[in-house]
């Protein structure tokens, strides 16, 4: 049992950290965010050159063959630096789905382009009515000769403005909320009948609402009606990834807040000498360590295919939501008026944590699922066991 990174993982971590230090001051980030798609194509190219875009993909597909730990390493640094480039939507979601879908021709065509930094992708799954139920899908796909034709609307598509290709979740059979009867389609983002309205999330990242009117899909990803089977593990892995990102963001907020507590003076002493603020700083620290521990738990159990992996991931996502809110709230509060401004990065980290809480379902949603999993288990102990001497 150990929680150490391999030498390779440490190298990845160090190189990302260096990148962040050089390219992600608040001013630099504001400049990146103000670009057309909310990120820097030059940075993206650099990611490709440094090999980061290849890490999650199998060696057979030209990747590095990384696993949950490698993704964690990358996403934590992305979280620490508030990096805006679309690693999550393009690599983990879009690329992850193409890889998981198992169709060799798609893998061979597109994964190298992703790895080379030449292709931006997105996963279009949310709909106006779906809220956190990913299987609540009314976008329809119907067969028309050899083609699949898609009609419907997707919202809050991450990286939806920049994406050249989309994976679209559509219903091919079943009722509105059935898990069965969903199919994933590869769609060209500029195909006839695709309309995009791009806008921003609060942390500056690019999203789009996309309508599909008689859009002919380029290919089926995976099998017809079996979309959930491809999607679920990819989304679980994305859940892990955003939780690692959240840890990085929380670490940064802790560091910034501690620094402020140690330097900001009021009533002639540093505010960090007030016991009430000290105890709350301990609470922030404690919340952050809880996230780290559950992240290690979820990553290790996922990597080992352990039976506790699902429960661990659900617990993690709940904790990320709750602890993120606590850490974010306290960071703003302890920074006082300055925490309310866009002149510090505190607010942007807080917003990123709030977005991560929402992604793939918020804390309450995941806790409901956790309860179902946890209470389904039978335990074996008797109360006498709890009697200490």
């Amino acid at each position: 049992m150990n929680f150490d990174l391999t030498e390779e993982q440490t190298m990845i971590q160090d190189s990302l950290e260096r990148f962040v230090n050089e390219h992600y001051t608040l001013d630099q980030r504001n400049a990146v965010i103000s670009l057309r798609d909310g990120f820097s194509p030059a940075h993206w190219q650099r990611f490709a050159e440094l090999g980061w875009l290849s890490i999650p993909f199998a060696e057979d597909n030209g990747g590095f063959g990384g696993g949950p730990v490698d993704n964690m390493v990358i996403m934590r640094e992305i979280g620490k630096g508030l990096v805006a480039e679309p690693f999550l939507p393009t690599v983990l979601l879009f690329g992850g789905l193409l890889e998981a879908g198992g169709r060799q021709e798609l893998q061979q065509t597109y994964l190298p382009q992703i790895i080379a930094g030449e292709l931006q992708g997105a996963f279009a799954y949310l709909e106006k009515q779906s809220r956190y139920e990913m299987t609540d899908v009314v976008t329809q796909a119907r067969q028309d000769g050899d083609n699949w034709v898609i009609d419907g609307e997707k919202i809050v598509v991450l990286n939806g403005g920049a994406a050249q290709k989309l994976v679209v979740l559509a219903r091919t059979s079943g009722d509105q909320s059935d898990e069965k009867g969903l199919t994933l389609f590869l769609v060209d983002a500029d195909a006839s009948g695709v309309q995009r309205k791009a806008y921003r999330m609060t942390d500056g990242r690019d999203v789009a609402n996309i309508t599909f009117s008689n859009v002919v899909a380029e290919a089926v990803v995976g099998e017809v009606d079996q979309g959930a089977e491809v999607m679920n593990p990819v989304v679980d892995s994305a859940r892990l990834a955003v939780c690692a990102e959240a840890l990085g963001a929380m670490e940064s907020l802790n560091a910034q807040t501690l620094e402020y507590l140690k330097t900001r003076k009021q009533f002639d002493v540093t505010i960090g000498s007030f016991q009430a603020l000290q105890h709350r700083a301990v609470d922030m620290f404690s919340a952050t360590e809880n996230v780290r521990s559950l992240l290690y738990r979820a990553v290790c159990t996922a990597a080992a295919g352990h039976e506790d992996a699902t429960r661990s991931l659900l617990a993690l996502k709940v904790m990320v939501g709750r602890a993120g809110r606590l850490v974010g709230g306290e960071s703003i509060q302890m920074h006082g008026g300055m925490g309310m401004t866009d002149e510090l990065s505190v607010g942007f980290y807080v917003k990123r944590l709030m977005i991560i809480n929402l992604l793939f379902g918020d804390a309450d949603y995941h806790q409901q699922q956790f309860i179902e999993v946890a209470n389904a288990e039978q335990s074996e102990l008797t109360l006498a066991d709890t009697e200490a001497a």
Binding site: R131, Y132, E133, I155, Y199, T202, Q266, G336, M340
Partner: protein, 397 residues
């Protein structure tokens, strides 16, 4: 113990209701229900305050000779509850509630006749210059300097967190005229024309996306001695006495009740997994947690009100109004965000509600982020707890 209003109070409530029914009309609503920010807000607020003025209700708390109405605490409460119930805004406080009491209490006759009528008629927009970049909760450590030079003071320094300075005609400031004694001494209360040469306003971008905060710089700004309130060096005393004039409704119970009702309605409408969010067990629990706290706070406010109506000092529970009120507001803002789901973290920008897919989240988000300030400004909740521990519970500092 008895909850009933008197016959007079009932009649007053009817009059208030009638006023709102007539005056809080579609024109007013369309002027003030701008959901995309505060930029269009100024003309609407002035129009609304003029309607209050025309009814004689712009400044009910002022002495009658200056235009006040001599309402009882219960009448103030009734007015405010009805206002919140229809969703009309509170008056912008900086002029009518904050500087005016200082002017009519400590100002010269010239100052009273120059400033009070214009405040009453909403002809001047005021802002407040207390906080400075270095001062925070330790307000008295302020450094913005005023030096006497002939008939004028010359002001140099800056003020921060100045709400709506971008609209303001006047700013009332605490400035330092003496550095030799205790920091509370040597502070002078000054009224400054925002159009004076040397005054500049820098907007502060805030996490809520509204433009409401500013930093105000003074560079060799000349202010006539006639604009000084009372004596030099007594500004701290005047400013403190102003706190007594703070409105009774500091807990904003009525506004929170409106917010809670709205959250419930929206949670009935939002569907997750085929079920209204309101029936989600955890959501329902969280909503009821805060509802119960709000029900308590409502009566804490009424207890304070009942004391005020009797003319006796409010009990120790009055120290909790701001603490609990702001915490409840933040909880409600959080719940409204949670109801909004993904939409709470997306910037609607130019998209119509239809394109965006939601008609309330944009505002929910702004309220949430702006609400973070409520436990920071006006004495952070930490400072409030210190004060309560010391003065109410008698614990040594």
């Amino acid at each position: 113990m008895d909850l009933q209003y008197t016959a007079e109070e009932h009649a007053f409530r009817e009059e208030v209701q009638q006023f709102f029914a007539e005056q809080w009309d579609d024109e007013m609503k369309s002027m003030l229900e701008n959901r995309r920010g505060t930029d269009g807000m100024k003309p609407g607020m002035i129009e609304w305050q003029k309607r209050l003025y025309n009814k004689g209700w712009m400044a009910p708390g002022w002495p009658v000779e200056h235009g006040g109405v001599d309402w009882s605490p219960t009448q103030h409460h009734i007015f405010n509850s009805e206002r919140a119930r229809v969703g009309a805004p509170e008056r912008i406080p900086f002029g009518v509630t904050m500087v005016a009491p200082v002017i009519y209490s400590y100002g010269t006759e010239e100052q009273k006749s120059k400033f009070l009528p214009r405040i009453l008629a909403s002809e001047d927009w005021w802002c407040q210059g207390y906080s400075e970049p270095g001062s925070g909760s330790d307000l008295a450590s302020l450094q913005c300097k005023a030096e006497l030079d002939g008939e004028d003071y010359v002001i140099n320094g800056s003020k921060i967190w100045t709400t709506y300075a971008q609209y303001a005609d006047w700013i009332f400031c605490l400035v330092r005229t003496d550095n030799s004694g205790r920091k509370q001494e040597g502070i002078t209360f000054m009224l400054i024309d925002m159009n004076s040469p040397g005054v500049t306003v820098r907007p502060i971008a805030t996490i809520d996306g509204f433009h409401h905060l500013n930093e105000v710089f003074f560079e060799d700004v000349r202010v006539p001695v006639a604009n000084r309130i009372g004596e030099e060096g007594k500004g701290w005393t005047y400013a403190k006495s102003l706190l007594v004039h703070e409105r009774l409704s500091i807990a904003e119970v009525a506004d929170s009740q409106g917010m809670l009702a709205k959250i419930r309605d929206l949670a009935r409408r939002e569907i997750n997994g085929g079920k209204p969010l309101l029936e989600d067990a955890r959501f329902a629990q969280r909503l009821s947690d805060v509802e119960i706290e709000l029900m308590a706070l409502e009566f804490t406010e009424l207890r304070v009100l009942a004391d005020a109506a009797k003319g006796v000092q409010p009990g120790p529970e009055s120290s909790l109004l701001k603490l609990q009120g702001t915490e409840i507001q933040q909880t409600l803002q959080e719940l409204l965000m949670d109801v909004s789901g993904y939409y709470s973290q997306t910037l609607q920008g130019d998209l119509s509600d239809e394109e965006f897919g939601n008609d309330y989240a944009d505002l929910a988000r702004k309220l949430y982020f702006r609400g973070r300030a409520s436990t920071i400004y006006g004495g952070s909740n930490e400072v409030q707890k210190n004060i309560t521990a010391k003065y109410v519970l008698g614990l040594a500092s």
